[in-house]
């Protein structure tokens, strides 16, 4: 058989293809689906949070009959592998091939930075729970919205609580040696020192350290320790910390005391105080509905990652409603998203500041052993204080706050005290 492909044959084939695929199109085009893209991590070390992110979205979609503001939702999930290069490729795939209207994710700050310019060029609204403070501070991206918390937001609250309510004076911080770690501990230090405390030492460990004892050995001469490890690391750190008989109380942010870790933690987590923008312990209807739905769909107790993405979906729906269900004018749609003001999300009421970062409630919780804890848990993060309407600037005026450099490895510096 001849393999030659003549122009005539090509025309015939193309015509046939057009006849098969093109004709029925107008008939079903009366309500084009809303295309929702998710950048998440389903393989590698960050997969724990990434899988929960997807579960959060799927739970929302199932609960709402795959429908957002009256439009059918077409959902695209992409696995970035937790690497910035992969994130860029997958973002291109979502925007250029799948033509999504909104991107949810990515997970990590360095992934977000990799697509910062790209989403702005393509004017694709992106709702993420990744840190990278400056994306809503000194170098704001007009197409970026953060309904969870910037890296330092919860730690500001924790620093204040440790100084004022726990009456602590001297702290040592320990975290991973990357942007999320610096911004968390910088936030803790700034707020802790504002209220009269003093950070005497800041320890940063390489990513993926298997054994933290060399660092734990350096913890002395303080009355509180602040850890901010992500993923499953808190489990290991707390155990090694307890094994060496270190008794200083621990405080942490949203990742270090995540509710999704409660079923894996042992007794060593008892007494740890954490500040998180989401808590299982919140007894509102919105939260109870969410917990029930995700337990039913996936049999998992949700934490910060799943709840964060569920809230993202709430925000997208509200924005889409406000824009009368159309995303044709991207500036208008983005403005509608930024103006969203919700009362009953799983994390409580939220709205946004003019830079696109959330203003919402933050919960200080203490981990305790409880024989009657729900969802088959043995430990429970009990809310001891709720801070209402916390902004990313904490109690500083915006101008004063933005005049400082972004929190980094060396800022704020450790002073003698």
């Amino acid at each position: 058989m001849s393999r030659k492909f003549t122009r005539r044959k090509f025309m015939a084939a193309a015509g046939a293809a057009a006849a098969t695929f093109k004709f029925p199109m107008p008939a079903i085009a009366q309500g084009a689906p809303f295309k929702l893209g998710l950048l998440t991590v389903k393989t590698g070390g960050l997969a724990q949070g990434g899988i929960q992110m997807e579960q959060g979205v799927l739970t929302w979609l199932k609960e709402h009959g795959n429908n957002m503001a009256g439009r059918k939702v077409e959902f695209f999930s992409a696995d970035t592998g937790g690497k910035p290069a992969g994130t860029k490729t997958k973002a291109q795939e979502l925007i250029e091939r799948d033509k999504v209207d909104v991107i949810l994710g990515p997970l990590a700050a360095f992934e977000l930075l990799a697509i910062d310019d790209y989403i702005e060029q393509h004017k694709t609204p992106t709702l993420s729970l990744a840190g990278a403070d400056d994306l809503t501070q000194r170098r704001p991206n007009p197409y970026f919205l953060r309904p969870s918390a910037c890296s330092s937001q919860a730690m500001h609250v924790m620093g204040h609580y440790a100084a004022k309510e726990m009456g602590k004076k001297k702290a040592i911080t320990i975290d991973w040696d990357f942007a999320f770690g610096y911004e968390q501990e910088g936030g803790f230090q700034a707020a802790f020192e504002k209220d009269g405390g003093c950070v005497v030492k800041k320890l940063y460990t390489p990513l993926g350290t298997p054994d933290y004892t060399p660092y734990i050995a350096q913890i002395a001469g303080c009355d509180v320790v602040c850890q901010g490890f992500p993923g499953g690391v808190p489990l290991r750190f707390l155990k090694q910390y307890a094994n060496f008989g270190v008794k200083f109380p621990l405080v942490t942010g949203e990742t270090g005391g995540d509710d999704a870790l409660l079923h894996s933690f042992g007794d060593e987590a008892v007494g740890q105080t954490s500040c998180c923008p989401y808590t299982l312990d919140l007894k509102t209807d919105g939260n109870q509905r969410f917990i029930k739905a995700i337990l039913k769909d996936f049999k998992v107790v949700p934490g910060f990652y799943a709840a964060g993405l569920y809230v993202n979906c709430d925000v997208v729906e509200a924005g889409l409603k406000a824009a009368s269900g159309t995303t044709a004018n991207k500036e208008k749609f983005m403005a509608a998203l930024k103006a969203v003001d919700l009362k009953d999300t799983p994390r409580g009421p939220i709205k946004f500041d003019h830079l696109g970062n959330v203003v919402g409630d933050f919960y200080v919780r203490v981990c305790e052993k409880r024989s009657d804890a729900p969802y088959g848990l043995k430990l429970w993060n009990k809310t001891v204080k709720t801070y209402k309407d916390v902004s990313q600037f904490w109690t500083w005026p915006e101008k004063e706050f933005l005049a400082h450099p972004v929190y980094s490895r060396d800022y704020p510096p450790v002073k003698k005290c």
């Binding site: 389903k42 990434g50 460990t205 060399p214 050995a217 350096q218 993923g231």
Partner: protein, 290 residues
Amino acid sequence: MTFWLLLTVNSITFGGLLFLLAAGFSLIFGLMRIPNLTHGSLFMLGAYFGATFAGGYLSMTFNFWVAVLIATVLVAAFGTVIERFLLRQLPGQQMAQVLVTLGISFIVADFCLMVWGGDPVRVDTPPSLTGFLRYGPLVFPHYRLAVIAIAVAAALGLWLLLDRTRLGAMIRAGVDDPDMARVVGIRVSQLFTIVFALGAGLAAFAGIIGAPILSVYPGLDQDMLPLALVVVILGGSGSLLGSFVGSIVIGFIYNFGQALLPELSYFVLFLPMLVVLLVRPQGLFGRFVP
């Protein structure tokens, strides 16, 4: 003073754990001439299996040490399968074999993620070894001391095996000169299987022994593999003494490097490897130049 003592004992513990991991890696490298990139995965697989049996995911809960045994045997069997059915298909093609081991490591990582999910798994310290030894201001967990004892016992056992038995003599002959070993009638390919299974079992054993300290989580394989690689390059492949000395040295460098020069901890870890490669490419106690 406390600080230094604590770090010293801790360095030895970590070195012991590394030895269990690296000994098998080194033997496989020495005999088969390939760095087995699945080794970290076998470590992780052993830890997950052990955690499953010890944690009572199945209807019955095993004693920690029984779980260790089951996990070790299972992973050793898995190692046998890899060697016999995959690596054996590519005789003499070392590059292809290395790529196969890399591929298997990806498969194992995804398999673990599928079966155990992304959540870290906690492994309880065996009840008889909980608590810590208090010596003045110095606090040391019993379990970490036990790890040292286990590593030393394993080192002795391996030394007896390699130095005092006929099988050991054959393995040493295979490491030194595989062609000559074949000529005198040693079935070197059979040794490959035995050594690979032994190495896999040791890695799994290290994984589950380390689990109460490190916990088990996705990515554990990638955290441990480079350490094994550094140990073997430093100590020399195919040499038990090399692995032992290399492990302890790396244990010390790792702990003291992180405590004293946290900014340079990875640099400090890889620097001795670089120096050894430049000055003595076969490693401190190596038997051949790779």
